[in-house]
Symmetry: C2
Subunit: 363 residues, 2 copies
């Protein structure tokens, strides 16, 4: 039986999750054309989102995604077909105001042995689609299912608690602290992470700090910018593992000179780290420096939607910068790596933004 039938009564947290996506994240209003993209297991959350979209006066339609559809496509398509542009999808997106993306995967490893060249070929085709999406009001989230629970090393009930603990918080209140942090960070021209085996700093002159308050990611909880590329200097030890193309990389150490990685190591999968650094010129430079603020996320789960927002952490991304920070890095990749700061400090100019378990506004 599908998940949507095993629920005797809908978990009220699903309803609240939907309300946040529609009312807070995307602010659906009368007349809005709304596209929900979802995997089959997300049926219950889509039902609840449909309710809130309708209540707000919007028109919802649902696109079904599945890793197994993708797998079947890659197995059967020749190169011309992989490169065929989906005009019908583009047309629907162009006529839409709001996009709500819900991940509740069938099988996160379904594409494991598909030729990466084919996947990259397809990604290029879909780039134009992605560019239309980000011009709309959009949010990405997950609906907890067994696949995600397994990937996170948890039982389903525990994973549900984890997801809703991170998601069902008072975003209005939360956002006030995050905007305050943005303001303080923008009063200075640099950023510095100090801690065990770590002293990394960069100029942020002319850059914007973005407070991610649950408008595009749910859960959210990070404040990020793009450093001035050539000014990144120092060394850093990332103690939280992360996944890249299905492989877990752990214990990354990086050393920067004039913005470029000049030395590196990893305790696990160093060869994959090497591959990342060799993708292009941008991939050995930082495109993002960020502070995670979501205390509802209490552990890493190898899902970047959650991990990069863990409270009391920082993260850096090798590769592409977000244009809304005024960033310049145009790498083909963007790989986030995370570090716990419970024994560290974050400084901007002469101000301490965070120190050993406390943000400045908690003092």
């Amino acid at each position: 039986m599908a998940d949507h039938r095993t629920d005797q009564k809908m978990d009220p947290r699903i309803d609240e999750h939907a309300r946040i996506l529609v009312e807070w994240s995307t602010e659906v209003k009368r007349g809005d054309m709304v596209i929900i993209t979802a995997n089959p297991d997300a049926h219950d959350l889509v039902t609840a989102v449909t309710k809130y979209v309708a209540r707000a006066g919007g028109s919802p339609t649902v696109i079904m995604n599945s890793q197994e559809f993708e797998r079947a496509f890659f197995d059967a398509a020749d190169d011309d077909t992989i490169q065929l542009f989906p005009k019908h999808v583009k047309a629907a997106l162009e006529e839409s105001d709001v996009l709500i993306g819900i991940s509740s995967p069938v099988n996160t490893k379904a594409l494991a042995d598909v030729d990466p060249k084919k996947i990259m070929m397809r990604r290029i085709v879909q780039k134009e689609i992605g560019e239309i999406q980000i011009q709309k009001r959009w949010v990405g989230t997950v609906h907890p299912n067994r696949t995600l629970a397994q990937q996170a090393n948890m039982g389903l009930e525990q994973y549900r608690d984890f997801v809703y603990g991170a998601t069902l918080i008072d975003w209005e209140k939360e956002s006030k602290n995050m905007y305050l942090m943005k303001e303080h960070l923008e009063n200075h021209n640099d950023i510095r992470y100090v801690g065990p085996e770590t002293d990394l700093h960069a100029s942020t002159e002319g850059r914007i700090w973005v407070a991610s308050v649950g408008k595009n990611n749910m859960p959210s909880g990070e404040v990020f910018t793009a450093p001035v590329e050539d000014t990144v200097e120092g060394h850093i030890y990332f103690d939280i593992p992360f996944m890249f193309q299905g492989k877990i990389i752990e214990g990354v150490r990086l050393k920067f000179e004039k913005g470029e990685v000049v030395d590196y190591s990893a305790e696990k999968s160093e060869n994959v780290l090497k591959e990342i650094l060799e993708v292009d010129e941008g991939s050995k430079r930082l495109g993002e420096m960020a502070i995670g603020t979501n205390r509802g996320i209490k552990r890493y789960t190898l899902n970047m939607l959650f991990d990069e927002k863990i409270g009391d952490t920082i993260h850096c991304a090798l590769g592409r910068a977000y244009p809304d920070c005024n960033g310049t890095n145009t790498s083909a990749v963007h790989v986030d790596i995370i570090k716990s700061m419970k024994e560290g400090e974050i400084k901007a100019g002469d101000e301490t933004i965070y120190s050993r378990g406390k943000y400045f506004f908690e003092k």
Copy 2:
């Protein structure tokens, strides 16, 4: 667990069903934009359809339908929202070449207590969508799930056998007989059903007989026309039950004079039959007279996609005619009612098209 995980190995019949939908029904070709609409339980068939679409060089995208999404929409939407036109859906359809609709319902009764006025209001909004759809290459089918099996009074395995018995046949061979029947019917100017408690006849002058060979319905297997409305005369007893808006109607008797129903009765739910006849002027007249030819369908299941195609039956529809028959009835409803002909005859002019278990081409 969802159906797509309980299958250890995909039932090869799912693969064959997909092949027929893509290669026979919609003839997908290189460059085609394809929209598949499906319920979550149809995941496996959609996966297989995706494979065949990709193999043919098409670009598939999937719209997820659910009776529970609809229910949530109706429960939350005000009249303005119900009447809001889905521009994004229209845009996607306009850019598409092929539509493959797969029904594998979540719950066929999910809308049972929604105000019929709201449903009718929405149907009017979606009329324009439907008109775009029928200008494309399109097919509707089912993917057997527990919901449909239950509705058909069967176990899941038995229902799977039923569906594939009706669907996985040699459509090329089948279509030859049906086109032959069309040819013979069009050599005459009238049609007559004779049998127990039955003698009904009508002129078919200037009308087209359509051979439904699996291009728009899968399964298919019927040859149908629209009678000249005023010429329908006689009486008929329909011995096969059917469903209208969730209610089962059984043992219908109709008497026609100058095309209009002048007397009627039903052994069960006569009040619903009365409602149908009173919808409008067209609903007391016939819009369709047809011959079912699919011997793979061995019993009725209260699902018109199958029931009207049962071999050795005829059916008539009260209400709207199909324009491709040159029909004139423009009623808001189209209600098919079916009769077994195993003890009857179908005549066109002086030719016997069918008699007691045999079509003319089987003699």
